[in-house]
């Protein structure tokens, strides 16, 4: 009964059951109870996965360290997201309330699947599933603009997914042996060894471009930004953290699988190019941003760029990339929750209309400042460590020019974020906001402080197990 695979199936069955229950019976209390229950189940499942680390279940799923780390991030963020979700949709009619939570559970489940999937196709299927689930959430407030965002998101994502699929097919071609064709990671390593590098290169390019929709990386970062604009803040938090992690995971997996082959330099260059462009564009847009959430969305783009660059540099950069993606998840999620609260308090996302936050809601303002500190990777933010490691890798590999440019771009990003956030916190709004304002109970902010505290803690001391896990993840990558 308690063998991994059955638990595994049980979990997805539960997800399905709870999702359906909530979705069909439109009752708020029920939805609340079941969702909370699901949160607990998910945590329990994560713990269980850790206990069975390294095993493979139903030969389509595996509990490898990277998947587990990201899964745990998901579990932690699930708690906060569900919590903030309850607050955010408090006043909605039962139907939308129920749909919201059903979709949320579907999203969490599909992301879990994507993390644990063993095999490109499996990942691909779950990524597709996340698209469908998140579409419903983006469309949560049924406005025209929400519809547009949803449409764009779904459409571009599906195109991207299709491209990614072509990449996977190319993997398929490289094998002469049909038994390997379900492309489990173990088999791909074997394929990659005897494969024609050209095929691998094309496969990589297509997969990168395809999943860049999810990871929010150039070239297909555009729609996630739009999605952020309209999605409920808790969902934005998911989109720009755990969902981006899904994209990252997909790309990282294929990168790791090919890293043994001669196409490694090619992959590095492509990653550097794409990451650098992301950084450039995000810097430009943050200097222009007039919408608080879009600003954060672009900051996610920037951070993904950093991750891609770190990955592309290699060496200690791999460590940096993993650490960065974890910390970014916490920091950015906290910031998005904070955005939700600031929206409640100030009644607007518009930068010009928002301001004087320090007097309206001191706790939130403090959280915002702290989050700013974290996301801009200024010590005592833990992300400073990851960026330091990235620079270290650059110095080690002699990418001095790139380093200088990246540093300059950082300064611009810092400038953009500082000016905007400080405007929100301290100075008076340029034009008075029209939206209606409400009070927020300071205790709701505690969760954000906890997340930021986690990020800051890493600056001073990286927990041993974290370090070991990350090292375990990157152990097979070329030094």
């Amino acid at each position: 009964m308690f063998n991994p695979s059955s638990i595994f199936i049980l979990f997805f069955a539960t997800s399905l059951a709870l999702g359906l229950l909530i979705g069909l019976i439109h009752s708020k209390p029920l939805a609340r109870i079941l969702t909370s229950l699901y949160t607990i189940v998910h945590i329990a499942f994560t713990v269980f996965c850790w206990m069975h680390k390294g095993e493979t279940v139903l030969d389509y799923f595996t509990f490898d360290p990277l998947g587990l780390v990201l899964l745990s991030v998901l579990s932690i963020l699930t708690i906060t997201t569900v919590f903030h979700g309850f607050i955010y949709v408090r006043n909605d009619p039962p139907r939308t309330y129920a749909i919201y939570h059903a979709a949320l559970i579907a999203l969490i489940a599909s992301m879990t699947g994507a993390y644990l999937a063993n095999g490109m196709t499996m990942v691909w299927i779950f990524v597709e599933a996340t698209t469908l689930a998140v579409a419903a959430l983006i469309y949560h407030d049924r406005s025209a603009i929400a519809l547009e965002a949803t449409w764009k998101y779904v459409f571009v994502c599906s195109v991207g997914i299709a491209l990614a699929y072509i990449g996977i097919l190319f993997l398929g071609f490289t094998t002469r042996d049909a038994r390997l064709l379900h492309l489990s990671f173990s088999s791909i390593t074997e394929i990659a060894k005897l494969a024609n590098p050209l095929y691998l290169k094309i496969a990589f390019v297509f997969v990168l471009v395809g999943y860049s929709t999810k990871m929010g990386l150039f070239p297909m970062h555009t729609v996630t930004v739009d999605a952020h604009t309209v999605a409920p803040p808790p969902i934005s938090a998911f989109i720009s953290t755990t969902l981006m992690n899904v994209g990252f995971l997909a790309i990282f997996r294929i990168y790791a699988l090919f890293s043994a082959t001669p196409i490694l330099p090619f992959m590095n260059h492509v990653l550097l190019l794409s990451g650098f462009l992301s950084l450039l564009i995000s810097a430009g847009y943050m200097l222009k941003a007039k919408h608080n959430k879009r600003m954060l969305a672009y900051s996610s783009l920037e951070n993904m760029g950093i991750v891609a660059i770190a990955l592309g540099i290699g060496g200690i950069g791999y460590y940096a990339a993993i650490l960065h993606i974890i910390l970014h998840s916490f920091a950015k999620a906290g910031l998005f929750y904070q955005m939700g609260q600031s929206y409640k308090v100030m009644g607007t996302y518009n930068l010009d209309e928002s301001g004087n936050y320090m007097n309206l809601y001191p706790a939130g303002a403090t959280a915002l400042l702290l989050g700013l500190l974290c996301i801009t990777a200024i010590p005592p933010s833990g992300m400073f460590i990851s960026e330091l490691l990235m620079f270290k890798a650059m110095v080690a590999k002699g990418y001095f020019v790139l380093m200088v440019i990246v540093a300059i771009l950082f300064c611009y990003v810092l400038y953009a974020l500082l000016t905007r956030v400080l405007h929100i916190v301290y100075s008076q709004p340029r034009t008075p906001a029209v939206g209606h304002k409400e009070k927020v109970n300071p205790w709701q902010t505690v969760s954000q402080f906890v997340l930021f505290a986690l990020v800051i803690l890493v600056c001073f001391a990286q927990p041993g197990f974290l370090r070991d896990t990350i090292n375990e993840i990157i152990q097979n990558l070329p030094k």
Binding site: G119, T121, M122, W124, I125, E128, A129, T131, L132, A144, I145, L147, E148, A149, T150, W151, K152, V154, F155, S158, V159, I161, A162, L163, Y165, I166, I168, L169, G172, F173, R176, A178, L181, H182, L183, N196, L198, Y199, I202, D226, T229, V230, Y285, K288, A289, K290, R294
Partner: protein, 205 residues
């Protein structure tokens, strides 16, 4: 025979890229579905009920019946039958598409594709190219939709190239893909009627 069908498929693509009437789009998508059905049928070496059923659902049911039906429905509902006026003149789009054909031939040749049939590669590259080109060059969402469907077909075509035994998983993927396309069409039919023109509220400039 296989190559024959593929050639037809390619021709349909070219025609797709130059025409301006939505009904023709819908028809062509259906036609492509039919061709794909034929192709996948030919690619099967041992015919079992399961596989036949699968192929039938995958191609005949969805690609030949459901999708074109939805397309026609949209056209009727929205009453928009032509592409946007300011779309690329068909002459130029023809140029671009033939360029794409050349490109895909070059790419396909530049990689040795044995033991697979080269035609599959050329045409499916060409199909991807055309699909993307449709999306890029047209302004109306309907054309984007068609472009997406073409890309789907390209994927299916490419997967057929592997020939012999397509593992269940790949098929599952393709099926899911098709579900998605249907769902998108669904959204489109249900919601997007009112703004049939391009949506550009969300932007930074």
């Amino acid at each position: 025979m296989t190559n024959m069908l593929i050639i037809v498929f390619a021709i349909s693509l070219i025609y797709l890229s130059v025409t301006e009437r939505f009904r023709i789009y819908a028809g062509l998508v259906g036609l492509q579905g039919l061709l794909l059905f034929g192709l996948s049928f030919l690619q099967l070496d041992r015919i079992t009920l399961a596989t036949v059923l699968f192929v039938a659902i995958e191609t005949l049911l969805f690609k030949v019946i459901v999708v074109p039906f939805l397309l026609f429905r949209i056209i009727n509902r929205t009453g928009v039958a032509r592409v946007h006026e300011k779309a690329l003149p068909s002459f130029y789009s023809l140029l671009f598409v033939s360029l794409g054909l050349l490109l895909s031939v070059i790419v396909a040749f530049s990689m040795n594709t044995t033991p697979y049939n080269l035609m599959f590669f050329i045409v499916s590259f060409f199909a991807v190219y055309t699909g993307l080109f449709l999306i890029i060059s047209h302004r109306k969402i309907f054309s984007h939709l068609v472009g997406f469907l073409v890309i789907e077909n390209a994927v299916l075509l490419l997967s057929l190239a592997i020939g012999s035994e397509i593992p269940m998983l790949l098929n599952m993927g393709i099926l899911l893909d098709i579900f998605v396309s249907v769902l998108i069409l669904g959204i489109f039919v249900m919601r997007l009627r009112q703004h049939i023109d391009d949506l550009t509220i969300l932007k930074d400039d």
